[in-house]
């Protein structure tokens, strides 16, 4: 596991049915591009988050492919329609096979 990885999500705890809400996510990750060399000239192997998804009650909201030029600590802001109460599930996929998950519940009322 890459060190210091911590997913963060900012999503509303409550929404009205059918409301479009703004969701912000940030994951601390160094996003090593694989293009750099260390002080002795060896290539530092690529280590990035390569995919990010968000699902609401099992239905996909966004599915993003990340490329090596994306900067450290990738941040996503997007909108989702909340038809009913449920859980937003966020998943980040690391190059080294690790998967980081976060869940936020949204109540409707």
């Amino acid at each position: 596991m890459a060190s210091g990885v911590k997913p963060r999500v900012k999503a509303p705890k409550k929404a009205s049915a059918g409301e479009v809400v703004t969701i912000k996510t940030l994951i601390s990750h160094k996003m090593e591009s694989g293009q750099r060399k260390d002080s002795s000239g060896n290539v530092i192997p690529r280590s990035i988050i390569n995919r990010f998804t968000c699902d609401f009650n099992g239905q996909n909201v966004v599915d993003v492919v990340l490329a090596p030029a994306i900067s450290t600590n990738p941040y996503f802001e997007f909108e989702a329609t909340i038809p009913e109460a449920g859980d937003l599930k966020f998943t980040w996929y690391d190059d080294d096979g690790d998967v980081y998950e976060e869940t936020k519940s949204v109540a409707v009322g």
């Binding site: 210091g4 911590k6 963060r8 900012k10 912000k24 940030l26 601390s28 900067s71 450290t72 600590n73 941040y75």
Partner: protein
């Protein structure tokens, strides 16, 4: 004369662009809650040098400014989170964590960043936040001291600063700290390097003007440690001093040296009255 007239017309036409480097009139509110004082009357000791002190936040673009208004978007807060983990982790031969003595930093560390660097009577020296943290680590925890401005040290300083946000900077410059303050003042006005530039050459005489593609601020350190977009990490005041002196093509002092401690005290005192902003966001 014709050239002058043309320049004057050009200056009028491009007036907004020409002054884009100056301080704007925006107001800084963090999390819709903490109202920051980003412009204030200059403290008495700056009489004749500056009339108004202005936070570096005003010299940045709207996009950069906006990042600091929300803890979620302020990436400096990532390091504050990491420092909280360190705060709660026992280290060293005594098996103690910061939290064992100081409990919740939201209570115990409030106001600390506003008054440091500060004279320490027992040690007989002016101490910065990082020095005080290291004193705890070595003498109370039996752990190794952190290197000055190392990642953990700067994250801890940022975490401590975050609990003073919105409080006015108010470092003491009289009494036993006066000697270090005078030394810092001398460094501030001394021209260094092949370019023969003093801190004052840029940050007092030319703030608001461009330095290549960047805007010169007044160089206050109320926002330190600062998350810089250019290197995507927290930057300490001493490292910033080092970078500035290096850019004058001089041999620099080291972070943590007596010279930089004195300079930190002096530069911080120039911002007496501005709100503590650390960790701030700059470009």
């Amino acid at each position: 004369m014709k050239f002058k007239a043309m320049t004057a017309i050009a200056a009028l036409l491009f007036a907004p662009a020409a002054f884009a480097g100056g301080a704007d009139d925006d107001t800084l509110v963090v999390n819709g809650d903490i109202e920051m004082t980003t412009k204030a009357p200059a403290p008495a000791h700056l009489d004749g040098a500056l009339d108004e002190i202005i936070s570096g936040w005003h010299f940045r673009s709207d996009e950069t400014q906006q990042l600091q208004t929300d803890d979620f978007e302020n990436q400096g807060m990532i390091f504050v989170d990491q420092a909280m983990d360190i705060w709660n982790t026992a280290e060293g031969s005594e098996g103690k964590a910061c939290a064992d003595c100081h409990d919740d930093p939201a209570d115990s560390m409030t106001g600390v960043a506003a008054t440091y660097p500060k004279w320490n009577e027992d040690a007989g020296e002016v101490r910065t936040v990082q020095m005080q943290v290291n004193d705890c680590r070595v003498n109370r925890m039996g752990a190794d001291a952190w290197k000055y401005d190392a990642t953990d040290a700067i994250s801890m300083e940022a975490m401590i600063a975050s609990h003073s946000r919105g409080m006015p900077v108010n470092v003491a410059i009289d009494g036993p700290a006066a000697e270090a303050w005078e030394k810092g003042k001398e460094i501030y006005y001394t021209r260094y390097g092949q370019l023969e530039l003093a801190c004052a050459s840029c940050h007092e005489e030319n703030y608001g003007n461009y330095i290549r593609a960047d805007h010169l601020s007044q160089g206050h350190i109320n926002g330190f440690p600062t998350y810089r977009l250019k290197n995507a990490k927290l930057n300490g005041a001493h490292s910033r001093f080092k970078g500035c002196i290096r850019d004058t093509r001089a041999e620099t002092f080291s972070p943590g040296s007596d010279e930089f401690i004195a300079l930190e005290l002096y530069v911080k005192s120039r911002g007496n009255g501005l709100s503590v902003e650390g960790p701030s966001v700059r470009n």
